[in-house]
Symmetry: C2
Subunit: 148 residues, 2 copies
DNA sequence: CTTGACCCTACCATGATGTCAAGGTTCATG
DNA sequence: CATGAACCTTGACATCATGGTAGGGTCAAG
């Protein structure tokens, strides 16, 4: 199969199919005499696996690990489950962070009249001193450089 | 003030302070004879505003809009509120998407024994045909859909 | 003068994806 | 056969926010 047909069959863009090959998620397919990639039917399965995992928010590294387990018929399902549950935890933390942002925003907006007057607690809140003024500072403001 | 002091005062890295200048969020400050950036105290306020907005997940474009309204003493608070509420909605949708992913993942993991046996519904679910019209990827193996 | 902290610009990298460019191949049709 | 559409190829650039590095200038104190 040509790349265009694989793309249609899987819903993965040609661009990303080549990309996955480049980063090692897909094995390099055979080439025909004209240089065209020639995919075996198995590739479709594997691409769908990758795309589904991506849709679930797995990182490339996680997908690589899952593919390795997929290829290994002897693997223990506990390994797969550990990756999946770890990722679920990761997703939960991200969702909670977004929710906290939203909460803060709604709290700020609550005090805002939302009319034609210029007074606005949202802007006032944004201009306030930052809650965590202890972020990373680039350059060595207080760290000794021990470089040769 | 030198950039290092502004960085310390705001918790924004020097790297990002220069970046915000490059993308137009911060006005280019005066330069001393030696080429060093020389910031007025106002810059600290503005940087804090930017950093706070960024922490709330606003995009650069949204921050630019908020800054414009911040600079405008005549603006109506309704404009600010509209941006804020729109963004809150955006955050809610993102959080919901993450939660849906997590739900799917947990559903898949539920059927997984998580022991030494190779049988694993998580991998089976990932290898399934991609949801094209509507998704039914949760739970056990569904009927394989044939689509070209 | 030396040292070390500070500043400058400019480039590279991330991750997933899109787009565009410039060129080769295949095939159908006039 | 010639032309053009539709396909394939590689490579490069852009996004967004951030970190890092390289290479070099500046300043103040010892």
């Amino acid at each position: 199969m040509n790349i265009g047909q694989v793309s249609k069959a899987t819903g993965v863009s040609q661009r990303m199919i080549r990309h996955y090959e480049g980063i090692g998620l897909m094995p390099p397919p055979d080439r025909r005499d004209n240089g065209y990639r020639d995919y075996p039917p198995r590739s479709i399965e594997r691409l769908r696996f990758i795309a589904n995992a991506r849709d679930l928010g797995f990182s490339v590294d996680e997908i690589a690990a899952l593919l390795g387990l997929w290829d290994d018929r002897e693997r223990a399902s506990s390994e797969v489950k550990a990756i999946a549950l770890g990722h679920a935890e990761h997703l939960a933390r991200k969702a909670a962070a977004l929710e906290a942002m939203r909460r803060t925003l709604l709290d700020l907006a609550e005090g805002c009249s939302g009319d034609a007057r210029p007074d606005c607690p949202i802007l006032a809140g944004l201009a306030e001193t930052r809650p965590h003024p202890d972020r990373e500072l680039t350059g060595a403001s207080c760290k000794p450089k021990e470089e040769a």
